[in-house]
Symmetry: C5
Subunit: 223 residues, 5 copies
């Protein structure tokens, strides 16, 4: 696996032109999109979003190897070109992206790390942009490590919830994008609620807008 993986989470809303198509035409279009997704990236996973959010019908999670600095440019241009086939019917709402990077707070691989290129996905997928306050970065590394330890311990108790952290510093407005996979939204909701009681929460500046998606196979997407 590459050291650096480019991950792109892009949400889409069907445009009015889509809703003017009849059922058969809509299905035909979704079939074309499902076919095209194979070319759009090394891997692309599909999630339905509405009614979880009112501004989004579906979410595409695409990933590419990106050890070579030119790969991001090639990946992005190719993505834009492929997507242009359907832009009349499908409007981008939000894109969140960044690169994986070894954590400075926890060494080594964990069973709870998400592998974007794995074939089997969990039912639910939750992502949000994430930034820490200015004060966080001006604290001692020891203090920060202590607070991260509290955070990591709690996360380990929810061992069937998996996580992917990507770095967006200088690439988008947020510092990170956090992604979670889970088979049980209520359990995940409990984890997030318990994290409110940890000291590190004081240093969260931004963790919205949150996007919750439901995994769809290509067949389910076509409907």
């Amino acid at each position: 696996m590459a050291e650096r993986i480019l991950n792109l989470y892009a949400t889409y809303l069907y445009s009015p032109a889509y809703w003017y198509l009849d059922d058969a035409e809509r299905k035909c279009l979704r079939m074309e999109i499902a076919d095209g997704l194979r070319e759009i990236a090394k891997t692309t996973h599909v999630y339905s979003v509405f009614p979880s959010r009112s501004d989004t019908d579906f979410l595409l999670w695409s990933a590419w190897d990106a050890d070579d600095p030119t790969q991001a440019a090639i990946a992005m241009k190719n993505y834009a070109k492929t997507m242009s086939t359907w832009r009349k019917f499908v409007q981008p709402v939000q894109t969140l992206w960044g690169f994986t990077k070894p954590s400075m707070y926890s060494k080594g691989k964990s069973e709870q790390d998400i592998d974007p290129f794995e074939g089997v996905r969990s039912k639910y997928f939750v992502i949000y942009p994430f930034s820490k306050t200015k004060e966080w970065y001006l604290m001692s590394l020891d203090a920060r490590q202590g607070m991260m330890n509290e955070h990591i311990k709690l996360g380990k108790q929810f061992f069937d919830i998996k996580q992917l952290l990507i770095y967006s510093f200088g690439l988008q407005d947020q510092e990170f994008v956090v992604a979670y996979e889970t088979e049980d939204l209520v359990k995940f909701s409990d984890l997030v609620m318990q994290l409110r009681n940890t000291e590190g929460r004081r240093y969260t500046l931004l963790d919205t807008p949150l996007i919750t998606g439901i995994h769809q196979t290509a067949e389910e997407f076509v409907g």
Copy 2:
């Protein structure tokens, strides 16, 4: 009744395409929607919103049993599919959702708890997203319980106002969605005004946008 109930409050605006229909066509469409709502969830209640809000014509409150973690996915996908029939004429404005959960501050059932599956509904329905400040979660449980007691006592004096609290941590941007049913908006307004004088108010971070709806039977919705 299920331990966990998924509640979804979704607001809609009629699109320009709707206003280009004539009266008979609009009525026909509303009739189709009223029929379709039976399939959209275990139960769906309809509320008119405009002119209470300028961006919303009506509100649908849907609820499902959700003890099994796969039920939310099935419910959401089915909802999206059914609603897609009318999306040309009806645009989603906002969706607020989450799961019920036993309160940590008050034990047992209360007469003022709302049962989503009950057939008879109050005339007025008020909902808003709700979040507490970071400081709230880092206070002692005793301090929090004390402030909640003050809040609960005041609520009990308004015994004919009923309440439903759902948990949205990690599912949407807010922590909770609060819903109230009342037969008297002025009385409800007085309750909210009196809650301004309680200590716990300091720890409210978010309680907007507020949505006020007026209950409609299927017949009233069709008009």
Copy 3:
């Protein structure tokens, strides 16, 4: 006069479809609206807004008796139904509403109180949503009364500026909607400027967006 009066301030923008009509068709539509306003509420006053605001062409101020808790529901549903006749040409921008209520800070009626049902209106009408800070409500009633006295004294010096305060707690995002009638905008502007120097100003959380309208008779609205 009823103890409780429901007041609704609704602003509208002509839609692109309106601007595609020719002059005679537009006038005909405005004539229909002017006629329809008689049915929309117990009383409805019309104000032109553009160019005072760029997002609004006109403002409708409607009022109903509302001592009976069911009246608000009937009023709102009837308003929505009547307005639906013109929604193709007229888009709601903002609605602000609430109920009158005896003030806790000043007893009795004042010459400067606005009566919504009076036939003759002032030339200028200014409204805005209004909320106080959390700190305000947690201060002693004596401290609050003192600051309100300073505010009221200043208002009395501008004896020809009239005022209507409605309560929106729990009905919309703001706590109040404040409305003023005046024959002289410059004088009103001076009053608002002088109120900046009063102690109570510290506790103003929200007083925007402000809407300034110019009174129109039905004939002037039709043009």
Copy 4:
């Protein structure tokens, strides 16, 4: 010259309908607008804005004598009526307005005061809404005068930059609208940068959105 002058700065974006016209039709429309501007106010100056702002194609600065309190109503209604001729092609983006008033901090007329009715205008025109913090108004008049003196001295060093201050308290969301005329944008930019170092800057609450326009004669506007 009148004691009180009503100034209205209104920005417009060409609508999609305009871009569907061919070149000759567009020119013809701009010719009609240029002609109509003579009737819209006592004086109206035209400024091109795009690409200075992405949401605005041009800015109209209109001014009227307004010593008589009824003049504002007549001016606004007449403006709206004339502008309605072109609203299909031209959408209002933002309007900023208010009345002139003798300054409480500097006595008498200055060479740097802008006269709206003067025929010859500078090349560049910069405006923004402006509000001071609550703290400003609760300070002693002496402290405020001292800080204003520092501000005024700096402004006088840039003697070829002219200024117009209008009062919007109670008329729009901001307290003032500030306008500058200059022949040299870089020099003006230096003035604004140097004002950052003055004590009074602490009490600026709002000075955005800023609009920069380039003066156009009627002929240049028609193109």
Copy 5:
């Protein structure tokens, strides 16, 4: 080279009308735009943006000599006129602009300074508006110089990342626009992350929205 260079960064979204064209027509339009860009400014560079941002398809970076104060007016008017040819298909999203100016914190030219008129460009281009807090400008020049030295030292360690700072005080809402060129987004992201640990970060008020573009030759833009 001129002392003052006017730089304009403008982002565009293809309008629905563009997506209604077929492939050949879209290519033809992009060819026209590519041709027209030669006339729009002294130099114009093209960058693809989507999917890096969801609201933008491409970015144009234009630059002009601007030592003479009238040049900005001529440049802007000419830009608007040329761009008007394509506005039916291409909507402006955001424009960021300002003038170069010798730095008060670092003397002389650096190898890391960007020359807008150079023919060869780096693969990636990152820009954002930038403002400092009020407190920054009220600190001693020594304190500010010290913090800038820490910032500059870190930047020099990333010697292959180039920078262009333009001044927007009084021209737009932000104080500066910062632009970076890099061949490696991950390295740039690391630089931005490390800058979080510097003392000067406390005084950053605004550094969003950030725009990341990928350089395109005219041929690549036409596709």
